[in-house]
């Protein structure tokens, strides 16, 4: 026998309690990892190199306010802009759905070619989409999810716009950070609304990330004091403003995470207190046999740390495996796409569990350090 065997035998002496404690820590760590992953998913939009070159301009008053189509000519002349297209959110419901998990945008297909450069057409043909104003280009994820094929029709019921869309799938794209969207000819919106002079937003690609700030400033300045002032921002900033509409996700997940951590602390502290209180007499005997305070402290710490660590490993890696195998995009109708349990989140949960393991050992360890051998031997088992 060595010291580690001794610690392990002590830690595992009450199997039921060990199982319950490790399970509690595992579940708490799992919940913590899940909450942090959810927060990440909802607050940090996916990034790509191409996205850093894209800029979106919307009405300064509100995103719901349209912009005049005549702004196109002014924007095109701003130095640093490589391509620009109208970009209008349709917000339709697909088929009979009550909630649709992918967005539809009206764009100018020819201009759009120069903006979404990271995507590639994997089925059908881009030119087919350009040529047919009643067709659309669909993300591969959406195509797979609804088991559609090129040539099939997608029907959308308008919610913002008093019109419906019936679009033939002409092309399928893949390779963007979000392969779910549906893009169609902006002309359909123009014709249906009988106001070819309005767009939702302007979608642009700039020469380089370095010139993006100047381009944004130039766009804002170009329409200052006009009837439709704009607010230009990077694609990332634009997405973040959408996320903020979900509410203060960070505060919410932080609150729930704090409750989880607090509960986890109560579980480990009470378990360790009970486990050590039951063994006060034995610890007094160990002291009599010559074990010193710091050695007993190490035993208690190792036991507490071991239980918390075992729970953390189970909970964190179990959660990672679980979310890696579950098709969350399908389960949430596309609301959650990546739900990636990152090493950073796993490390954070591991550190929380380790700190709790140490904290929960403190009370019992101090009690044992203060205990005299004689008082400990008087303890009733």
């Amino acid at each position: 026998m060595n010291i580690l065997t001794f610690i392990a035998k002590n830690a595992l002496r009450n199997r039921r309690r060990v199982i319950l404690t490790v399970s509690s820590v595992a579940v708490s760590c799992g919940v913590l990892v899940t909450l942090q992953t959810l927060q990440r998913e909802l607050t940090i939009p996916p990034e790509s190199e191409a996205a850093s070159l894209r800029v979106i301009a919307r009405n300064k008053v509100s995103i719901a306010q349209p912009l005049p189509a005549r702004q196109l000519g002014v924007i095109e002349r701003i130095p640093g802009i490589v391509a620009v297209s109208p970009f209008t959110y349709f917000g339709g419901l697909y088929a009979e759905e009550k909630a649709t998990g992918f967005a539809q945008f009206g764009v100018d297909p020819e201009r759009f070619r120069g903006i979404m450069v990271e995507g590639r057409v994997v089925q059908g043909a881009y030119d087919d989409w350009v040529a047919d104003r009643n067709s659309c280009m669909v993300g591969a994820d959406t195509l797979d999810r609804y088991k559609l094929r090129v040539g099939d029709h997608m029907r959308f019921t308008g919610t913002f716009y008093p019109m419906d869309l019936d679009l033939r799938i002409a092309a399928v794209f893949q390779g963007t950070v979000d392969d779910r969207g549906v893009f169609f000819h902006h002309k359909l919106l123009d014709d249906a609304m009988d106001n070819g002079g309005a767009v939702g937003t302007w979608y642009m690609r700039v020469e380089s990330a370095a010139v993006a700030p100047q381009v944004i400033a130039a766009i804002d300045r170009a329409f200052e004091n006009s009837s439709a002032e704009v607010r230009a921002e990077t694609e990332r900033a634009f997405q973040m403003s959408f996320m903020s509409m979900l509410g203060d996700v960070k505060s919410l997940t932080l609150s729930v995470s704090s409750v989880v951590v607090f509960t986890l602390m109560l579980v480990t502290v009470s378990t360790m207190s009970m486990a050590i209180r039951e063994r006060f007499r034995e610890l007094a005997v160990l002291k009599a046999l010559g074990f010193r305070r710091h050695e007993l402290f190490s035993f208690i710490l190792a036991e507490s740390f071991g239980l918390a660590g075992a729970g953390a490993v189970l909970g964190i890696f179990g959660t990672w495996i679980f979310w890696s195998t579950v098709n969350l995009q399908k389960l949430t109708a596309g609301f959650l796409v990546y739900f990636e349990v990152t090493p950073r989140i796993m490390a954070m949960a591991g550190i929380v569990a380790a700190v709790l393991g140490i904290v929960s050992a403190m009370g019992p360890a101090l009690a044992v350090a203060r205990m005299s051998v004689v008082d400990g031997l008087k303890t009733i088992d």
Binding site: M1, N2, L12, R13, L286, L289, G290, R292, V373
Partner: protein, 226 residues
């Protein structure tokens, strides 16, 4: 009997504070105990015999007086030094055996050796020797709940002996045993002082148990009376 005492107790007093009251457990006790002696400390409950044993063994502190064990002033050692001193010089036998229930007999006996620099095979050899000495070599892989009370106490004696201490202290070692097991345990303790050169100090209420010793000391109200 050697001329130099292994334990020298001088004017030893111990006063406990209980609420507003001072309770005198020991009052100016002075004794000498010599190597190879088997001393029985007797007296009624509350007479201070266990307190005296605890102070001599270094698990309690006196209020006044001195205790020298093998010439070392036990009161002068700090907590850490005292723990190391106990490990090397004192073997403990308790009334309730106090074995660790999740460890086998061999592992229980090995516990004090974990604090030494002995390697695994050296520890194993010493443990087996100690268990053979108490007649339990064939029970070394049994856990305490698989042993009788008498066997458990013999394992506890093996644990007390395994570091080869000069002094073995036993607090009511037969208090929880039947007559046969008690006789076995007392015979072992007797043999330790007689054959192995250990000094044994035993607290007991039982005159029959005390009869195994070479000397009896009687305490009443914290003082040696005989």
């Amino acid at each position: 009997m050697a001329a130099e005492p292994i334990v020298q107790v001088r004017e030893l007093s111990k006063i406990y504070r209980q609420g507003d009251l001072d309770v005198v457990a020991l009052n100016g006790v002075s004794i000498d105990i010599f190597p190879r002696e088997f001393v029985a400390l007797m007296g009624p409950s509350g007479s201070g015999k266990s307190t005296l044993l605890h102070i001599v063994a270094g698990i309690d502190r006196a209020t006044r007086g001195t205790v020298l064990v093998q010439g070392i002033d036990v009161a002068g050692l700090n907590e850490s030094q005292l723990a190391e001193w106990r490990n090397q010089n004192v073997g403990f036998v308790f009334q309730t055996f106090n074995l660790i229930p999740v460890l086998t007999a061999r592992e229980n006996v090995e516990l004090p050796l974990l604090l030494t620099r002995l390697n695994g095979s050296e520890r194993r050899r010493q443990v087996e020797t100690a268990l053979q000495l108490v007649g339990l070599a064939d029970r070394m892989h049994h856990r305490p709940d698989q042993l009788s009370g008498g066997q458990q106490q013999r394992v506890a004696i093996a644990r007390a002996l395994v570091t080869d201490p000069a002094l073995v202290v036993a607090d009511e070692p037969t208090g929880n045993l039947d007559a046969k097991s008690a006789a076995d345990v007392l015979s072992i303790l007797q043999a330790l002082s007689r054959d192995s050169g250990k000094t044994v100090i035993m607290v007991t209420h039982d005159p029959k148990a005390a009869a195994y010793g070479t000397r009896s000391l009687h305490l009443e109200k914290g003082e040696i009376v005989a």
